[in-house]
């Protein structure tokens, strides 16, 4: 397969610095050479390709936008470009990196004690340890504020009870960032694999994110030491701060999936011939679909870049990130559907990546705040009225 040369209708590349382009090049080559050749089989087998963790860590992809403890200290835009390339490979690979960096390393760095940082960040950065983020529960998805998992203070420690579900990396994780209700409100805790009373099991039967591990976590009188509470992670707001980081990465990531779908459909339309030996690309209805895709991808690129620049100046807020996540995910999903359509029967097979992206993007639409919930965040920002309940 020829290397990916990028999708850049509007010369968006001219807005990137030399370093940003270099970062993208590293991620792009890695995805072409190491990720894409694995994905068809991984997805088919329902297997996360954990053999990639070591090299992703060595290249600096884990916690790439964080400072210190071995992290690469990339800007938000550089980080976004990495996410874009990884998700061009597969949403499951990007999810792994998002969870590890934005949902595990970020809260430890932001809310953790120095001891917790020393203990976990270098090993999470180097891929020696894997983390997961447990917020969602069987009964509470869009409304995590209703969570039932509790942490009871008990003689200098805590006792956890409850259940978390749909947790990416769950059974693989050496450490779980778990959100639970204490007498003072919601707080984040670090729970280590092997702690008595903590068990995990995988969710099977997924048609989406098949190359990613999704698990349930259960806590039954699980005793954890006082020092496992993240001192700064108090209130649901702390959990939402993590989600804002991850959602930002998703807004870029899905651009990669959309680009892969567009490029696959564009190339296919030039070689597939129907009616009078003409390539299907010569039909107006086909061109209209390609034109829609490239237009929406280009707008999505500008949105991601703008929010990235705002974030690097400390001016992005969570409602900006909601717009980025919601718009780009919906756009990517539509690109995947159109691309699937243009590939005809071939589009439903795993010989082409589009149906895999399409299935994955259904998860991406739901997790990290559903499309609806982000509409309500934007709606609240422009009206001042919260319409969640």
């Amino acid at each position: 397969m020829p290397p990916f040369r990028g999708v850049d209708f509007l010369s968006v590349d001219s807005q990137f610095s030399e370093d940003e382009l270099l970062v993208r090049q590293t991620a792009r080559q890695f995805v072409d050479e190491r990720v894409i050749p694995l994905m068809r089989d991984s997805f088919r087998e329902g297997r996360f390709p954990s053999e990639l963790i070591g090299e992703m860590a060595r290249l600096g992809f884990l916690g790439a936008n964080l400072e210190g403890y071995g992290c690469a200290g990339m800007s938000s835009v550089e980080y976004g470009l990495i996410m874009q390339e990884l998700e061009r490979g597969d949403s499951g690979i990007r999810s792994f990196v998002s969870v590890q960096g934005a949902l595990v390393m970020y809260p430890i760095l932001t809310f953790g004690s120095e001891e917790q940082k020393q203990r976990w960040l270098p090993s999470l950065q180097s891929g020696k340890a894997v983390g997961c983020f447990g917020l969602t529960e069987p009964g509470f998805g869009s409304n995590p504020a209703g969570m039932r998992t509790t942490a009871k203070p008990d003689g200098g420690g805590w006792i956890l009870n409850g259940e978390k579900s749909w947790i990416t990396n769950g059974t693989m994780a050496d450490v779980a960032v778990v959100w639970a209700r204490t007498p003072e409100g919601i707080q984040g805790f670090l729970v280590e694999k092997g702690t008595p009373g903590y068990t995990s099991s995988d969710i099977h039967g997924k048609w989406s994110m098949r190359a990613s591990v999704t698990s349930s976590l259960a806590f039954a009188d699980c005793r954890i030491p006082e020092a496992s509470a993240l001192p700064g992670a108090k209130g649901l707001r702390a959990a939402l701060m993590c989600l804002t980081q991850a959602r930002y990465g998703i807004g870029w990531g899905v651009l990669g999936a959309a680009m892969d779908c567009f490029e696959t459909a564009r190339q296919y339309s030039l070689v597939r011939k129907q009616f009078d030996d003409r390539p299907i690309a010569s039909h107006q209805l086909v061109q209209e679909k390609l034109a829609w895709m490239i237009t929406e991808i280009s707008k999505g690129q500008l949105l991601a870049l703008h929010v990235g620049r705002l974030k690097d100046r400390g001016r992005a807020d969570h409602a900006h990130v909601s717009m980025l996540k919601r718009n780009n995910v919906a756009m990517a999903l539509e690109c995947a559907r159109l691309s699937r359509d243009l590939l005809g029967a071939n589009g439903i097979t795993d010989e082409y990546p589009v149906m895999r992206h399409l299935c994955n993007l259904e998860t991406v639409k739901t997790y990290e705040g559903t499309d609806h919930i982000h509409a309500l965040v934007i709606g609240e920002r422009v009206t001042g009225v919260a319409a969640y309940r």
């Binding site: 290397p3 030399e18 370093d19 270099l22 090049q25 590293t26 290249l59 690469a72 200290g73």
Partner: protein, 252 residues
């Protein structure tokens, strides 16, 4: 060891090429490191890791080549020399080699590496002439390098699957063949570190000064379709076909 690696920035392989004014339309192009030079850099970095010392990259060209220089620094080169000229492709290989030799001489390198040839102009001369100007022994189309007891042992690629092993003294110049080792990626930490590495700028005031050399015209290869019939028994015809596919069409 002080190892100097000469790297050239060339139009990316999948660029859209449109002949214009003795060259191709530059506005259409994206650029990348010349492929054999990427392997020369890889070898230069590997030798430094093995034997210690310093890997210095050198590139001639306009401001855009800094991107290629940065990539080399991000992969682990220690510092760089940028020979600044708007249009070095107007130079003959002799002139280019002269400018490079002037910049390199003061560095007193133990080893100079270049690519075997460039993907755009394909002269395949610059490295060899540079060796002559620096007064260094050289070997071309090198597939393997070993430094032992202050001397070199290199494996050269010959035609038809043959190789030649050569022993030579240091300092020396080698022109490297693609595929000598697996190329590394620039790590994110490497990219960040490269921001503070030195790039020495050497402005080239002189214009082209090799009267005997001029690029007349650039043209795209004409596409032609030809049908060829092979005589003889099916076995003979198949053998001829394989021969043509291998050595003429070069698709096997």
């Amino acid at each position: 060891m002080t190892i100097i690696v000469c790297i050239k920035q060339v139009p990316a392989r999948e660029s859209h090429l449109r002949p214009a004014g003795g060259w191709v339309e530059e506005a259409d192009l994206s650029y990348e490191i010349n492929e054999p030079d990427a392997f020369a850099l890889e070898e230069g970095l590997r030798l430094k890791e093995q034997h210690g010392g310093e890997t210095v990259v050198l590139s001639a060209g306009p401001a855009r080549v800094v991107q290629t220089i940065r990539e080399a620094l991000a992969k682990g080169a220690d510092r760089a020399i940028h020979l600044e000229h708007e249009n070095p492709r107007a130079f003959s290989p002799l002139e280019t080699a002269r400018f490079m030799a002037d910049a390199i001489a003061g560095e007193k390198p133990d080893l100079v590496l270049t690519g075997l040839q460039s993907d755009d102009l394909g002269y395949g001369h610059t490295g060899v002439i540079l060796a002559e100007l620096l007064g260094l022994p050289h070997a071309t189309i090198v597939m393997q390098v070993e430094v032992r007891d202050g001397a070199l042992r290199v494996k050269r690629e010959l035609e038809g699957g043959w190789f030649q092993h050569v022993e030579m003294p240091l300092p020396a110049l080698l022109t490297i063949q693609s595929g000598i080792g697996a190329l590394r990626y620039a790590t994110l930490m490497g990219i960040k570190k490269a921001r503070t590495k030195e790039i020495r700028r050497v402005p080239l005031e002189a214009g082209p000064g090799d009267a005997g050399f001029q690029v007349e015209r650039v043209s795209l290869p004409a596409r032609s379709k030809a049908t060829r019939l092979f005589d003889g028994s099916p076995q003979e015809a198949a053998a001829q076909l394989v021969e043509k596919l291998k050595f003429e069409a070069r698709v096997l």
